[in-house]
Symmetry: C2
Subunit: 257 residues, 2 copies
């Protein structure tokens, strides 16, 4: 199997009818044999530093309820974070929160290029192809990235439950995010905040800058606190809660509200 | 041969040492058999509406002199303009300057999607892969798109000889273009202008928005009047003139000048 096949973007519902295209960059904690275990013990290999627990289950639930396409990652972000350019420290971090990642400590430019070739490039090529096709068909795609965050960060508990984030490259790129936030406050009891616990200034909108901004596509990044989506039942309940929020927000932008 | 092979980006000097990566989206007037002749007569098939005459020869000359990588298109822009999103009227124009393009007059969404899949997506995937690899290697790529324009447009002669164009998505994205313009005025007698005969407002920076802006890469689009590069000798002479202009401009940005 070639890298293009092994590490291709995983696509579900490519021809789904909704304008929404969901993306889950941190869906997987898989560490392919080529890169060993990066020097991590068994617990660290499945900790939140390796993936976003619950995010794929939630994204699948949202895709099913909205009739949306879903694109997700096959590999741990510790090999290559698909939401970071290949030269950024966070793309192959040597340290993440309280964990050292020994296998990323002495990485050479050639190692970086090999990981970009194998992991970053095929994923973004697959997503770009899907978006271009849907644009050509006149489907006016709307991009939503689905993430989760840990309830305790460097020992501090986080009160926010739902973060709603937008890119900041162009004025007006916050429009869908503001409608999502408004709908979340109106329709749920989640503690919802704009551009929390991260924002574009932290570099978390790289994927949106690659795939949404050049085409002027409406977009939003969702961050859900991972203790709220810790079981399949909780993922489904959160999808029940948030699918109507996304539907209302998009309708509001389409209506010119 | 698959579409991915038949219509892949043509890449020369992928490992070339310069920071410069040159791109020629309108290098070819090839009309693949699949789309017939689009209803054009023999003269129209090789007119400036189908490609940018002289641009590939100039780009190759610049790449050789600068030690730069070059990425160019294998197919006429009348099948799919690689510098336009697939849903834009100019991507598959039914009319261009004074020419009708009958094969593009009644194109369906499915036709658009098939052209995007076959032509647009493989080209941009190839360019994206090259840029990601060079970013990972720490080479800090600088993107230059090379175009030519017709000396007479709708019957009006054009005085500008060299157009130097930048994207306008982010403040500061004009920096390299201003240095190129300054160097062109200092080092050549070409009638050189900023954002002429086109500008970002005309949609001509789509490729730069896809590949340069998301990574914050310095970039510039060059437009050369095609009567100045009408023979291989003229292409080489223009490359002799403009390679030092590009070298000086990049050095000026690197020096913080």
């Amino acid at each position: 199997m070639t890298d293009q096949q092994a590490f291709a973007a995983r696509i579900e519902g490519a021809d789904a009818p909704s304008r929404y295209v969901l993306v889950c960059e941190h869906a997987s904690h898989t560490l392919p044999a080529r890169w060993g275990n990066l020097g991590l013990d068994a617990a660290a290999q499945v900790a939140h530093i390796a993936w976003d627990p619950g995010a794929l289950g939630l994204a699948r639930g949202l895709a099913a309820r909205l009739g949306a396409a879903l694109v997700h990652a096959p590999v741990s972000r510790l090999v290559h974070d698909l939401n970071r350019a290949p030269d950024r420290p966070g793309a192959m971090p040597a340290r993440s929160e309280s964990y050292d990642i020994p296998g990323n400590a002495a990485i050479t430019p050639e190692d970086r290029a090999a990981r970009a070739d194998a992991v970053y490039t095929p994923f973004h090529a697959g997503l770009a192809a899907l978006i271009a096709r849907r644009i050509a068909l006149g489907l006016q795609p709307v991009l939503v990235t689905v993430h989760s965050f840990t309830p305790v960060w460097h020992g501090q508990p986080r009160a926010v439950e739902l973060g709603v984030i937008h890119d900041d490259t162009r004025p007006g790129d916050d429009r869908l995010a503001r409608e999502v936030l408004a709908a979340a406050w109106a329709m749920t009891s989640l503690q919802s905040e704009l551009n929390a616990p991260y924002s574009a200034a932290d570099g978390v909108t790289h994927l949106l800058r690659l795939h949404a901004v050049p085409y002027g596509l409406p977009h939003v990044m969702l961050e859900i606190r991972n203790d709220l989506i810790a079981t399949p039942e909780a993922e489904a309940a959160m999808a029940d809660l948030l699918a109507p929020v996304l539907a209302r927000a998009l309708a509001a932008t389409e209506g010119g509200a």
